[in-house]
Point group: D2
């Protein structure tokens, strides 16, 4: 078979490992010819391709990033986008398309399958771990490890200076990274999009700790966390000169606010893009490899319109329609039952 | 409640995190008093204890090892061992005993519960990941990461010198570490206890690679892997002066044998004890924390004779009788379907 | 002898290793009694002390931070500050004071020695590496390694997305971290306080790269780097609600400006406090240990008013008067001859 | 100019960084054409070359190993070896040869220059740090960091089990790695080739620690360390079936011996080849880069018969004749004045 492959959305550790696995199993077991599209959907529409072979993927397992390049954007943004996808697939003789991407790319894939009959198989990718239908997404484990390593470092500074450190981690829509790294790093509090936070409560908790002689605190905040309405005004301070919300908005703001309210020295740390690049952890390399193998298997089983997934310890698949348009919130058992015991 | 806690068997990253979680939830939520036994069963029989509190466990989350100490040995090795355990519990006023350990310690715990009515709860611990009844044990993720980091390093040397590197990893009875690190590290072959290996086949694979211009190979071998009968003689060379099989036995032997048979420069690397010490990965810290919380919960629910466990993404429990006396072999889907595609 | 010790200024990896070395050599070889002052000069003035012994420092070698705590501030800020230092030393029976700190603490130490005859020995501490009189300060190697690890990770994201990444590293007055991590990380350009930068030149360089097909660029900027006068207006945007320059000021601004001028996707990353906490590298542990040994040796030789120092491969000492009031700029041979060849 | 380059001897982190620096400065500043010889001297004699350009070295900075391959062996092993080197250089139009290697390769280079007038420039390479004429060699810092990370991990196991761990590190002729990693890792004793050890003394030291309640000990031993004559018999046990001394010989033996004599649980750990592969530390990347720049500069200055070197904080050069045929022993100030205070 000739099969197209693309990587969409933001960078994520493990992308190359997925591509390598597809190439290895496809080429070696099925005798497939794999065609990589460069720069995601743009590459499909503009027919920019690169061969995806065992040879071209050699040495890529420990490398972060994606050799195919990635970009945001969708064929549905263009009046003739879908036609261009169809033509590309026809002219390149592709019998299937593997889409490795996040909520955005998977939604496009789902629509192309459901409304236009294009034979797609999805592979869920996000460091945020918030895609429905899979227990874990690749890249998440690496992001959590990086955030935890950073928190480990910040503890010693917080303790040496009797400081509050506010660590902003990724997670625009969900608190998976914040909660998991917060547990692993021994945080004082974790603020996540799923639960608007009460700034008074956060400050009280920090003050209670101080009164018990614990002068250092680490507050982990997901970039998408927001204060409860009416508690404090985020204002317009964090909008940059281009009208975008500044990365680090909530982290900076929260640090200022905590410092102001408690009188304790408080410093923000914004981990930012380091969470999504670089070599994947062993866990992510294995998960990515299993996802890649499962994706090319699914193509050969004709399981189109699905996404490969981790269900417990096993690799399975989930219909794309059950996945898209939603965000998987952090496991309440993790946040409430576990995290909350440890925080404060 | 007053609850005793011990850590048994070999060192394992995450032990302190389990202890800390027990102390945090026990003390903060249930108002328990936790009594740590020093040096595993010896500490129970000799009534050597240390208080296990939020305060004594402070700062221990990122630390490898166990503040309680650990030791092999069992009360069943002593004629009055069980009586001493019972007396210790009675005199210390303990209503339950949490046993954090591997197959050995859990078997003791099971027997103490079944035959002597001692209220125990188990927490499965082994870097080898081969305990029945749980999908993952804590410490395994860290061991795999350490082995993978080492394999990453060995690749560049293998390539610069056109060498075969034989990496011996832990796994006396199972190939979990070898298989997982082998996939994550991009090994050429993985040899595990579950499948006696054919030295001819291994050498042929390496030679085939050479013929394709791939002059560097990484062979990962679990310490418990053995050759198929009749294929080659392990001999008595690897017995040390005390009559013990030398750590590194199979790794050294295999490197010699491959070098001899293929004529290629071959070097052994024996990772040994570095795999079981030091700071746990974020994954293991979270799993350990969840296990610790679940263990003290199980005590309060009276779920004695069970072991906490990971089932899929959730924490559950498994009766100890279903766990002991067996070794969980590596998932065939991992070894056969995934690993074998990548090796060679 | 009874000797006081304090750690001043910002957190820095290796502080505990210095303290441990002082305690080991002092106690074991000289039979000294070491008195640790808590929270730097505040602890001296308020006579808050803690014993500094082999035992209290046990296990501290791999730990970041300082068990003594640290704080900014000086006895010269108080009308009776110097008297309180003298009284503290007299009443505690201290014959010498070891001051581990940066430019600020060393200036205080120098003045106490020169103007008030207090027998001090300095140990130069700054992750910024910009203290005169020593080739290297401890903490610098760790900070550079952390920044380099981050740059390694950012490369894959920059390449996958064809992006410019602007990485702000520490260095308010000097470009040591930026230059060294820039060389180690393979940056496109490094902007440092020693050389006001020309934004046009930076953008041209990035554009030239793009024209050669190199779509990813990493710009490393020290927090203290400033644009050449008249080139672009930093404005007042980066002043926070408390009137402080916001950490990340130049990094955020530069990313905005580059994006605006080149039209390329540009993202800021602000490494911040992770650069100054956590476990020291092996290099810093050894340098710290040698500095600690040398400091207590200097006390016993009566070499007061000096600072221990690295001169080439050897440990020596430098009079404090030759050190204070200056900033050691980055080695021109490093910046001009080496860095500039690699950048672009 | 057309300049040949080869990498000889064992793998060493930073080799690619040296090559990349030569290519960058050579191509960009001098307009040189660089010719890489594949597999060291074999490649010269067999005229196997590969172009060494900015482009071919792209992305190699963080990669361990050498893209040129490396091998032991010398033209002086072949009757017409020198002639073949001369012919190769003549026919390839090479005006100089940069030899990146250890004592072996540099001796060859020296002889080729002195006796045969071949214009060579050397770059000192060894993880062992024992080349005369330079304060530090690249690769050493990485090896020490890897060994220190391993020792950190072993501490927790040693402490949890009350064990003695014997860690064998590289260093056939010198104790640089052992001493430096021993200081950085907080070892109990360090045994090095420069000082034959007394097994009785080592055991007494461990016993004294036990008597003080310190039940865990880490003994670091360089692979080339030997017992004082007459103290104990190394015997012939550690010779493998091919008559080679087994890697790990002294480590295994010492662990057995200490266990036997003290009665304490003792375990060997043999770090082996992981110390010489994989990504270089930031320090080694910078040193390698500076060495590469200096080497191509030396070629253009006509400074043949020399080796680039680190003298203090500066890059200089040393005549090859002053370098070869010797081993630089570990700095006594490090071993005696520093290390010995910390051990025990």
């Amino acid at each position: 078979m000739r099969v197209g492959v693309l990587t969409g959305g933001g960078d994520c550790p493990g992308l190359n490992a997925v591509l390598r696995a597809i190439a290895r199993k496809g080429e070696r077991v099925f005798g497939d010819e794999l065609v990589g599209f460069v720069d995601a959907w743009d590459g499909v529409m503009e027919r920019r391709t690169t061969p995806l072979t065992i040879e071209t993927m050699r040495g890529s397992l420990p490398r972060g990033g994606t050799v195919l390049g990635t970009r945001r954007g969708s064929p549905f943004d263009h009046p003739d986008g879908v036609d261009r996808v169809k033509t590309a697939m026809a002219e390149l003789g592709l019998e299937a398309l593997i889409v490795i991407g996040g909520n955005g790319s998977l939604s496009v894939a789902c629509k192309l399958y459901n409304e236009h009959g294009i034979p797609v198989v999805g592979v869920p990718k996000t460091i945020d771990n918030d895609i429905e239908g899979t227990d874990v997404t690749f890249g998440f484990n690496t992001a959590v490890q990086i955030a935890t390593d950073a928190i480990d470092r910040l503890h010693t500074t917080a303790e040496s200076h009797d400081r509050v450190m506010v660590v902003e981690v990724m997670g625009r829509h969900s608190g998976w990274i914040a909660t998991t790294a917060g547990i692993a790093g021994g945080a004082t509090a974790v603020l996540i999009p799923e639960h608007p936070f009460d700034i008074d409560e956060v400050c009280e908790r920090i003050i209670r700790r101080h009164n018990r002689g614990r002068f250092a605190s680490i507050i982990v905040v997901a970039e998408g966390a927001t204060p409860k309405e009416g508690t404090f005004d985020v204002g317009e301070r964090e909008i940059d000169r281009f009208g975008h919300v500044r990365l680090g908005g909530i982290g900076n703001l929260l640090a200022s606010e905590i410092g102001l309210r408690t009188g304790f020295e408080t410093r923000p740390v914004l981990l930012g893009h380091v969470q999504r690049g670089g070599t994947p952890t062993a866990y992510d390399r294995v998960l990515s490899t299993r996802f890649g193998v499962a994706a090319i298997d699914a193509v050969h089983r004709g399981a189109f319109g699905t996404m490969v997934a981790l269900h417990g310890a096993e690799i399975g698949e989930t219909p794309l329609v059950d996945v898209i348009g939603r965000t998987r919130p952090v496991d309440p058992a993790l946040y409430t039952d576990v995290a909350e015991i440890f925080f404060a």
